[in-house]
Symmetry: C2
Amino acid sequence: MRETNDAGPRQLETVARACDVIDALEELDGAGVTELADYLDISKSSAYSYLSTLRTKRLVVKDDDTYRLSLEFLYLGKTIRHRHVLFEHGKQQVDRLAEETGEYVHLMCEQHGLERNIYKVAGENAVGDTYHTTKERKADFLHFTSTGKAVLAYLPDARVEAIIDEYGLVKKTENTITDRDALFEEIQTIRERGYAVNDEEEVTGIRAIGAPIRDANGAILGAVSVSGPTSRLNGDRYYETLPKQVMESANVTEASINMSNASRSL
Amino acid sequence: MRETNDAGPRQLETVARACDVIDALEELDGAGVTELADYLDISKSSAYSYLSTLRTKRLVVKDDDTYRLSLEFLYLGKTIRHRHVLFEHGKQQVDRLAEETGEYVHLMCEQHGLERNIYKVAGENAVGDTYHTTKERKADFLHFTSTGKAVLAYLPDARVEAIIDEYGLVKKTENTITDRDALFEEIQTIRERGYAVNDEEEVTGIRAIGAPIRDANGAILGAVSVSGPTSRLNGDRYYETLPKQVMESANVTEASINMSNASRSL
DNA sequence: GACGTCCGTTCCCGAAATGCGAACACATAT
DNA sequence: ATATGTGTTCGCATTTCGGGAACGGACGTC
C-alpha cells in the first residue's frame, strides 16, 4: 500500500492491522473469523492469522468460535494506572475530594490530544447519577470538559492549535465552545483564575470544576475535577467553595509529585 | 524465521513482535528506542518502526524520548471486564460476600490455562493485609489457588492434563500440590465437596475457600473465593461457615447467569 | 570551544513474511 | 440429501519488513 512520501516515521502495516483487529474485537464485543474479515475488509485467511497470533500471545481468547479480547488488557491497564504519576500522587486527593464534596471526582490526563480518564470516584451524593454511572467512556475531546480545558490552558499554544486542527471543536450542547478565538479567550481566563469550568458544555444539566496539575517546570500533567447536576453546583458553592477545594487538591498533588521528583534527582 | 511444519495456524511474526514490544514496555515501565531494541534483540530501526506504529494507533505514548503504554489499555480492560458475564452477574455477590465476611474476595476465570483476576474487593478486616495489598498480579498458575483448583475440578480431564503438561506443577510452599496424581485426587475431593480450599499452598499463613461457577450445561465459567490469614480462617469458620457462604454466592451468580441465558434464547 | 559519545531518526535494498484465493472439513438448516 | 454457513489449511505472487549505515541533535568532557 501507499506510504505517504512527505511525512512521518515508517508505519508497519501488519502492526497497524493487528491494532485494527483489537479495536474491532472491542467494538464488536468479540467476533468470528468471517465477521471480523468482513468488518475490516480483509480476507478470511488473514483475519484467521491475526486472531491466531494474538491468541498465541494471549491478548485474545477463543470461546467456541468467537474470539474476544483477553483479561490481559485489564492487567495491563491496571498496571499502567498503578505506575502513573498522577495516580500515585493523586489518588488520595481524589478520594478525599469525593468524601468532602459528595460529588463525582475525576482524575485525567491528555494523550494524543484527547482526554483519558485515570481514576474516578463517586461521592455519596453522586450515586444513582444517571450521567456519571453510564459505562466507561473512551477518549473524549478536550474542549468541552473542565479537566480538558484546564489541560488545554497549560499546553503550548502551538499544541492547542494542532489539536483543534486535528479534531475540530465538536458541538455537544448549546454552551459548547465551538469557536477557536472564543476557546483561546477561555484559556486566558482559566490561566488567570487558576481553574476551569464546564458549565453544561458537554451535557445539559451537568456542571464541573477542574483544576490543572503541573510539574515543577510548569508542564501540564493532567487535571482533577468535581462534577454534578446544576441543582447542586450553583451559587457560592459553584463560584467559591468548590473551586477552592479542587485547586487545593491539585496543589497538594503537585507538591507530592515535586517532592518525589526532587528526592529522585539527589 | 522458522514456521514449525507440524503444527498450528500461521503465526504472523510482525504481530508477535508487536506483542513483544507491548510486553517489554510493560516490564520495563517504558523505554527508549535503543533500550527496547537491546531488550528484544532487534535493530534500532525496527524498534523505532514498531513504536511509531503503535503510537499512531494510540496504544503507546511518547514522553520526551521514552515510550510508554497508553491509557487505552485501561479503557479496554475496563470495557472487557464490564462486559464479562461473571462480572455482570457476580459483582454484586462479591461485594456482598466481602461485606459479610470482612475478608478479601476474588472473582476469577481461566484463560490460556492460567488464572485471570476479574474483580476483587477488600472486606473491612482485610485492609492493611500485607499479602493481598501487593500490587496487581499477572496471570498465575491454577494448581495452588482455591479458585484455580475449583476451576480445574470442572475442566475436562484432558484439558487439565494439557495444562499440567504446559506449565508443570510449580512448588510455592510446603503445601503446594506438585504431584499429578495427588492433584487429580484433590480434584475428585473438590467435585464431591463442591468447593476448593487453598491451605497455605500459595503463601504460608494464607488460606482460602473457592467455589466454582458453572453454566447450565455444567461448563466451568470461573470461581469466587474468600481469603485471609490462618489466624482468622480456622475452626468452624474455615470448615463450615465460609464454605457455605462462598458456595451460596457462587450459586446465586450461576442462577443469575442461567436466567439471563434462558431469557435470551426465547 | 572542539571533540567524542550517546541518543532518536531516516534511508535503502535484499530477504522474507504476508495477503489472498481456492479448497477442505464440519455443522446446521432446508 | 443438498445448500449454505462456519472455521481452517495450503501455496504462490507480491509486498513488506529487517538491518546496516549514515544523519542530526544533545550532552558531557577535556
